[in-house]
């Protein structure tokens, strides 16, 4: 399988230790890889245009994300975020990607401690390129999932 180089991965993960470990793992598995980190849902929400104009090859999406980091000038989240809470943040980000033609076909891997049944994916059933890897599994599973996704293209 020939992986497209350089591989561009958008990593949406609010835990910096997790993000560091995932990045190290991907860099060891894919030598020429560029990992762009996004740490909060607000960063994704307000950065969506930049993502659309420069779409990645694959997205690794944590599901439970905080809205923003503490700051004196914190932006108030939209009502849907206030109503649904942080537990569905990653799914909201997936929905935003699916609604844009430039990003709707990008493979998204949900990388989370939640089980599939906890995710309540009914609202995202129409998204074909949505995949799932549990954070409890071995690192190879994530790497193999990326390889498989990219080889289908």
């Amino acid at each position: 399988m020939k992986v497209k180089t350089p591989l561009r991965v958008l990593l949406v993960e609010d835990d910096h230790l997790q993000a560091g470990w995932i990045t190290d793992t991907l860099e060891r598995a894919f030598p020429k890889i560029k990992v762009k980190p996004i740490r909060t849902e607000a960063e994704f929400y307000y950065g969506i245009d930049a993502i659309v104009s420069n779409p990645p090859d694959v997205v690794i999406m944590d599901v439970m994300l905080r809205w923003t980091d503490p700051a004196p000038d914190m932006v108030t989240p939209p009502d849907v975020v206030r109503n649904e809470g942080y537990r569905r943040a990653g799914l909201r980000c997936v929905q935003m990607l699916a609604e844009r033609s430039a990003t709707k076909n990008i493979p998204v891997i949900l990388f989370t401690v939640l089980s599939r049944s906890d995710l309540e994916l009914e609202s995202l059933c129409s998204i074909d390129n949505l995949l799932y890897v549990s954070k409890e599994s071995e690192p190879e599973e994530l790497i193999n999932k990326i390889r498989n996704v990219l080889s289908r293209e």
């Binding site: 910096h16 439970m64 905080r66 503490p70 914190m74 942080y86 943040a89």
Partner: protein
């Protein structure tokens, strides 16, 4: 020469005066006053007004009379064919009898003739308004008979009598109606509160008295059904029968063979001219009232003689009788009857019967309305009692269910007590619950002394009885199980589903206990007394059954939830026990490996390149993560204690300044690793203030204090703005208490949120935006750790500079 007793003929007829006099009369006997005036005009000693009976029989009867000596004639009737008066009536011509001794038709057994020494009289025929014939007789006790002028006067006077009599009847009728209306209006105003049957009956008695007074009846009685529904028994409500005389009948049945029974059965009025002639007039009476039978329960003729002290052979006046049904719509509610005038006129005509019917209608209206209002008032009272009873019961149940271990038996017992108090006649009650495994109903709660009667084995066997819920049903409980509705048994002897438990039971209600479609059992209510259950009994049983269903549902749910709660807490404890060992071991291993200058030596060994730096960084991160795991694990253990309301176990010893500072510096260092280095949040422990521990003797569990500070550091780090520092310092308070303070600059806690901050799982809205994971119990656990130390957690609201302070104040020893 005229006898001193003779009244001379005076002025001619004064019509206006006669009419005024007639209009002034309030009783029918007022006709005597008219006769007095006419006798005066004609110059007579006495005057008798005669009338025929209803059927144009063989006799004429005294309607009214007057004599100068105010004595009444004993003669009440005259034969038509064998009397001068009868001849006058039949021929329609005035008969003048100038000398009674010379008339073959005059009989001398009348005491009036002998007492008053009557010498002559004249009889003038008249025609009453109803078409009944009669005569007006004038009598003299002087030799001189009536001359032609006087006879003409007598005829003129007689011609006026029917009209004058009608005026009196009309006037009396109007007066009666007015009085009846006044009485009822006053009764309506006074009967606004308690509608007791005695008070209602008192008003009916008042109406009877009015009627008797107006028509001079010896008896006016009212019989009514006591309930608005259709029984066929009518009880005596009121009577004017003399109180010193026995009243033989307290009630009547419809269709029984009696005058009153006929009226009740046929809903038609009856009027009989003379009860004494019932057998003679039977044919004509049956023509008007088919099948009419007279029982004479009052023994009226004997009673009349007795009351008016007449001798056995004394003649009796006509004993008139009339009765009218009291209706409510198409239904017969009762009867009013009146009989036997005590003085003239000794009969009731159609007009009097019409008046009786009017009074009957008024009584019917009043009685039904009063009973309906009374029943409504009673029902309201009962419903109020039910609401009060259920409200009190709900309070009791609420208290019972909030206990650590609610006892449903107490709830059942209290529910049965409430049922008995709100439902009249609920004497022996119980609750049976449905056993799904066996398909049977079994007793679980009992109320009523009867449950404890008998030998101990009888009592036990009774309580242990079980009832299958077969289909098709063979018992009331099975029926209720199937249909899920209340099953009333008004008479246990006639019900096919009744299974006897107590021989004294006369009636029963079985109500389902359930909620929505769920069936739990039945509520049995038994009555043993003579009275039926009240009308609303089934509704009450249904309400109590539903309440019991709700209570049982709540009790079951609470049991489930408490069990779940205990299992969850137990799970927490089990997980914590499993984690504690490996986590502590890993922590200790990491601590021992990375203690002192190990990391510096590792850096020297590996070099300064990126990969080497990553290795040492990973060591630090692993240490930090391990400490976090230990902190979270310990939080879980503490939560398990607190959730079970158990005290946090302490291992207190005197706190040492250096040891505590070292532990806190390690904790701060590891906390820093948990936060994104790009945000540049610093953690600093100021050792200086901790020296106070050298002088202040403070005892505490160092591990728990470390836990408390780590929880605070974790919170502070999560909510801090970037490029700020979380600081930890210590100092004695003004009260010389040892105090550790953790400060940060970040998301504010408002003053009105301070009391919430220490509650379990609370986060402010702005804090929610900036955190993802976490259970929200950190500060709550710190609060309990400090309470265990007899100390205090104090959260100082954020100041203008976004500075938040959290203080751990240790109590004085």
């Amino acid at each position: 020469m005229a006898s001193p007793l003779v009244r001379q003929a005076a002025t001619p007829l004064d019509l206006a005066s006669l009419i005024n006099t007639a209009q002034d009369q309030t009783t029918l006997s007022g006709i005597s006053k008219i006769l007095e005036m006419l006798a005066e005009v004609v110059g007579a000693y006495g005057c008798i007004l005669w009338r025929g009976d209803d059927f144009e029989g063989d006799f004429l009867f005294v309607l009214a009379q007057w004599s100068a000596d105010r004595q009444m004639s004993d003669l009440h009737r005259l034969p038509r064919k064998e009397s001068e008066t009868g001849v006058a009536v039949s021929t329609g011509k005035t008969r003048n009898v100038p000398d009674i001794k010379k008339s073959d038709l005059v009989k001398f057994d009348d005491t009036f003739f002998t007492r008053a020494n009557i010498k002559n009289f004249c009889a003038v025929p008249i025609q009453f308004r109803e078409g009944i014939d009669g005569a007006l007789n004038f009598y003299r006790n002087v030799e001189e008979p009536f001359n032609d002028v006087e006879l003409r006067l007598a005829e003129q006077a007689a011609a006026l009598v029917p009209s004058l009599y009608q005026i009196i009847r009309d006037r009396v009728g109007l007066s009666l109606i007015e009085n009846v209306n006044d009485l009822l209006r006053d009764a309506e105003h006074s009967l606004v509160t308690l509608l007791e049957i005695d008070k209602i009956s008192g008003v009916v008695k008042g109406l009877c008295d009015l009627f008797s007074e107006t028509f001079q009846s010896l008896e006016t009685s009212v019989f009514l059904s006591g309930r608005l529904e259709e029984p066929f028994s009518y009880d005596l409500i009121a009577t004017t029968w003399p109180t010193n005389e026995e009243f033989p009948r307290g009630s009547y049945e419809r269709e029984e063979d009696s005058l009153t029974g006929w009226v009740l059965a046929n809903a038609e009025p009856v009027r009989i001219f003379d009860l004494g002639r019932f057998e003679d007039d039977k044919k004509q009476l049956h023509g008007k009232y088919p099948g009419l039978v007279w029982q004479d329960s009052l023994k009226i003729q004997e009673a009349f003689r007795r009351i008016f002290k007449l001798k056995p052979k004394d003649p009796l006046p006509p004993l008139s009788f009339m009765a009218a049904p009291i209706m409510r719509g198409p239904k017969v509610r009762g009867v009013i009857r009146s009989c036997v005038a005590q003085q003239g006129p000794f009969y009731f005509g159609d007009q009097e019967l019409e008046l009786l019917k009017l009074v009957a209608a008024q009584i019917g209206y009043y009685w039904s309305n009063s009973l309906a209002r009374r029943d409504l008032q009673q029902e309201n009272t009962w419903w109020q009692e039910l609401v009060k009873g259920v409200t009190n019961l709900n309070s009791f149940v609420q208290e019972e269910l909030s206990r650590e271990d609610p006892n449903e038996d107490r709830i059942f017992a209290e529910s049965l007590k409430t049922t008995r108090s709100v439902l009249q006649g609920a004497d022996i009650n119980d609750i049976r619950l449905y056993d799904e495994d066996t398909g049977e109903l079994k007793f679980v709660a009992f109320d009523g002394e009867a449950w404890e009667e008998g030998t101990s084995s009888e009592i036990e066997n009774r309580k242990k009885r079980r009832f299958r819920v077969d289909d098709p049903p063979t018992s009331a409980g099975a029926y209720v199980y199937k249909e899920r509705e209340v099953y009333p048994i008004p008479d246990v002897e006639k019900d096919p589903y009744y299974s006897p438990v107590f021989t004294a039971t006369k009636r029963k209600i079985v109500a389902p206990i359930g909620i929505k479609s769920k069936f739990y059992g039945v509520l049995d209510i038994r009555g043993t007394g003579p009275d039926d259950f009240p009308r609303h009994a089934e509704a009450i049983a249904e309400v109590m059954g539903q309440q019991l269903g709700l209570y049982h549902y709540c009790a079951e749910k609470i049991k489930e939830l408490r069990k779940l709660d205990r299992e969850q807490i137990q799970a927490f404890q089990d997980v914590e026990h499993q984690l504690k060992s490996p986590v502590n071991l890993a922590n200790n291993m990491i601590q021992s490996v990375t203690r002192g200058d190990f990391l510096q030596r590792l850096e020297l060994l590996l070099g300064n390149d990126e990969n080497s730096k990553k290795v040492t960084a990973r060591f630090r991160e692993v240490r930090g993560l391990n400490r976090k795991a230990k902190r979270v694990t310990r939080n879980m253990r503490l939560f398990a204690y607190l959730a079970r309301k158990q005290p946090i176990p302490l291992r207190p010893k005197r706190l040492n300044s250096e040891a505590l500072v070292r532990v806190l510096i390690d904790a701060a260092r590891d906390s820093r690793l948990m936060f994104d280095p790009l945000r540049k949040i610093g953690f600093w422990v100021e050792p200086k203030g901790f020296e106070a521990l050298n002088t202040l003797e403070v005892h505490g569990d160092q591990d728990l204090i470390e836990q408390a500070v780590m929880n605070l550091l974790d919170n502070a780090g999560k909510y801090s703005f970037e490029k700020t520092t979380v600081q930890v310092y210590a100092e004695p308070t003004r009260k010389n208490q040892f105090c550790i303070t953790v400060t940060n600059i970040g998301v504010p806690i408002r003053a009105n949120e301070v009391h919430l901050a220490q509650t379990r799982t609370w986060r402010s809205e702005r804090a929610e935006w900036t955190t993802g994971e976490g259970s929200g119990i950190g500060l709550w656990i710190v609060d309990h750790i400090m309470k265990a130390h007899n100390g205090e957690l104090l959260v100082v609201p954020t100041t203008i500079e976004n500075l938040t302070e959290v203080k751990l104040i240790f109590g004085n020893r």
